[in-house]
Amino acid sequence: MNKYLLSKKIVINELSTFYSFLIGLSIGIGIGSIILLTQGQNPIEVFSLMLRLSVGSVKSISTSLNKAIPLILAGLGISIINSVKLWNIGAEGQIFMGGIALNFLYINTEISSPNLMIVYLLITSFIGGAVCILFPAIAKVLFGVNEIITTLLFNYIIIGLTIYLVNGPWKDPGSLNFPAATYVGKEVYLPTVFGRLSYGFIICFLCTIGVHYLKEKSVFGYELRISGGSALTAIYAGINAKQKAFIAMLIGGGLAGLAGGVELLSQTHRVSTGLSQGFGYTAIIVAAITGMRPFGIFLVGSLFGALTIGGSVIQTMGVSSYIADVIQATTLFGALIAQFFFTYKIIKVSEDV
């Protein structure tokens, strides 16, 4: 009798997440092609249009990368928190809170220097995200309350707060009662690097390097890993595990808040319930399939941005929205399966011995 077991590979190729995403993409395209053929569509035409409109020109590449910015920033935040083996399901709420904090500062401040103001606004959005996770962090370190539940529940609170603000105190008089806050002034829009790519992408890249350094190279990152790994080892090493977890949560929440701030200043230009299109949840997927590695998050997040843009143009070829969703979902599913085989191996165990 032989038994088969799953075993985690000891050495994981750093590029594996990227490859797995490409393999998943191929699986998705394969299955998608079959579905398209059954719908009487030409898969080559559909996928070449997707490619052309998501990465085919400077304009489309910059649109795709803009879409990736909130995913990457929130994903980095999730990855920092995960280095102490905690999960942040609340990035969606933290993104909104980042936008809310930013707008609060904006409407209560006189602007003297727009550039300096942008810096202040983005720092405020970071603080907003951190404040949003403060309560779950305190509940975690003081009472051991499960952070998965508290961070998730905070999403509903913050989205409720957003709905209140855009229907009440912040409602734009010019929008004829449509629930959205007044636009911020053009002087604080994030400038663009090239095409439509906002400076948010530079911020994103710097954060990726920063988070990589913090997690992999710094003493703090080492302490985080020990704290998350074993409570006893942490005590032995003289590390205050609760304090480290607390700080990691605040930084992670702050990065998601920054994602909201960048999105507001570069894309939506105002607070509304459309500030995040589920970025906080997609960021969890991005972080998870890359095994929480910062550069993996950066790469896969960028591909995800392109996939999102590609997905939303499939319909323009006459493919129904339901089929478009299926194609996006199969791609993602393919990537998850490929990632699984890069991370685990199947070993045969003989029971005869």
Binding site: L53, N167, N177, F178, Q267, S312, Q315
Partner: protein, 335 residues
């Protein structure tokens, strides 16, 4: 069916021959962008039926994209994909696309942007269009007022914007005319198409004693809730809801976009297009009240028929009130 096609083809060929040197329909491709599914049984489907009519009548090539959120980047991504493929007429059929369409009209002067339910336009390539839906809503209020026993009518409504508020007031004016004791209670859902939120709001109204429900929503969720509770339902947009809630269905103020879409596209082709706001009333057929169910008392049906006639020939003007609710409405315009 085939015969209809043949007749259509002959008509088109006659038309194209008659036009002679003018631009032909082949030079245009029209794209429609919807906020909900194209088969939502309501708002977006009403537009899609209009699109299909447009194709039948003019032979123009069209395409649509459904479920595009009211977000500038989302709309822009889809619209640019169409422009890239040579589409030069873009219909956006929900209020929230307004800013994106205004911006894109400046950026793409060769593309014509047509926005439904908004208030912005420019002098060249960006027009807005809508219908006087408050007229048939007033008529449906007459039916609702006659149908309620509890004197409590519920109204599931999307956003407190002028379009929705004037609809509620017109409806409530109709209610008041036949039943001064009845009140209309409004619950806001903050979504055009959100079956869960719509169901929740409908049930909340039913639980507090409403026995007739009306709606300004895109799905038939309110109707299903009314059907389950044995209440009556005034639908909206289309009459498809009568299949899913046959007992509850009373009537529906409905859209017929087809003829307008044909007119506007033909005006673009023959060069007479202007960006003036279009606001069609019942006399154009764009808006109307669907056939009443047999539950409606015959004297009410007669009254509605008279009022319909009066609106169409212009002797009756339904009041437009959109700053606040009239006195028999319970709720707030500033939630």
């Amino acid at each position: 069916m085939r015969r209809r096609w043949a007749v259509g083809l002959i008509l088109i060929s006659i038309l194209t021959m008659a036009c002679g040197g003018a631009a032909s329909v082949d030079e245009y491709k029209a794209a429609f962008v919807y906020v909900g599914p194209a088969d939502d049984g309501g708002w977006s489907q009403a537009h899609d039926v209009g699109r299909q009519y447009l194709v039948e009548q003019t032979g123009i090539q069209t395409e649509y994209t459904a479920l595009v959120p009211e977000d500038a980047t989302e709309f822009r991504t889809v619209a640019e994909a169409y422009i890239e493929q040579g589409y030069n007429i873009i219909f956006g059929t929900t209020f929230g696309y307004i800013d994106a369409m205004a911006e894109m009209a400046e950026e793409y002067p060769d593309v014509i942007f047509l926005h439904c339910s908004g208030y912005l336009n420019n002098d060249t390539n960006f027009a807005n269009y809508f219908g006087k839906m408050y007229q048939p809503r007033y008529l449906s209020g007459l039916a609702a007022g006659a149908m309620t026993d509890s004197n409590k009518i519920g109204y599931v409504a999307a956003f407190p914007i002028p379009e929705v508020i004037r609809g509620i007031n017109a409806f409530a004016a109709g209610v008041n005319e036949v039943n001064p004791d009845a009140t209309v209670e409004v619950v806001w859902t903050f979504t055009w198409f959100g079956p869960e939120a719509e169901t929740q709001a409908a049930n909340a109204l039913l639980e507090t004693g409403a026995d007739v429900l009306a709606q300004h929503q895109d799905s038939a969720a309110t109707g299903l809730a009314a059907e389950a509770a044995g209440a009556k339902w005034i639908s909206y947009n289309t009459a498809y809801g009568q299949d899913s809630a046959p007992e509850a269905f009373v009537t529906a103020p409905v859209w017929d976009w087809g003829p307008y879409y044909v007119d506007i596209v033909e005006s673009i082709i023959d060069g007479t297009f202007t960006t003036e706001s279009y606001w069609g009333g019942m006399e154009t057929g764009l808006v109307s009240l669907y056939d009443l169910s047999s539950d409606v008392p015959s004297e009410t049906a007669t009254l509605i028929a008279e009022k319909t006639e009066a609106i169409i020939n212009g002797t009756l003007e339904v009041a437009i009130v959109e700053e606040e609710f009239i006195s028999n409405v319970i709720g707030t315009v500033n939630p």
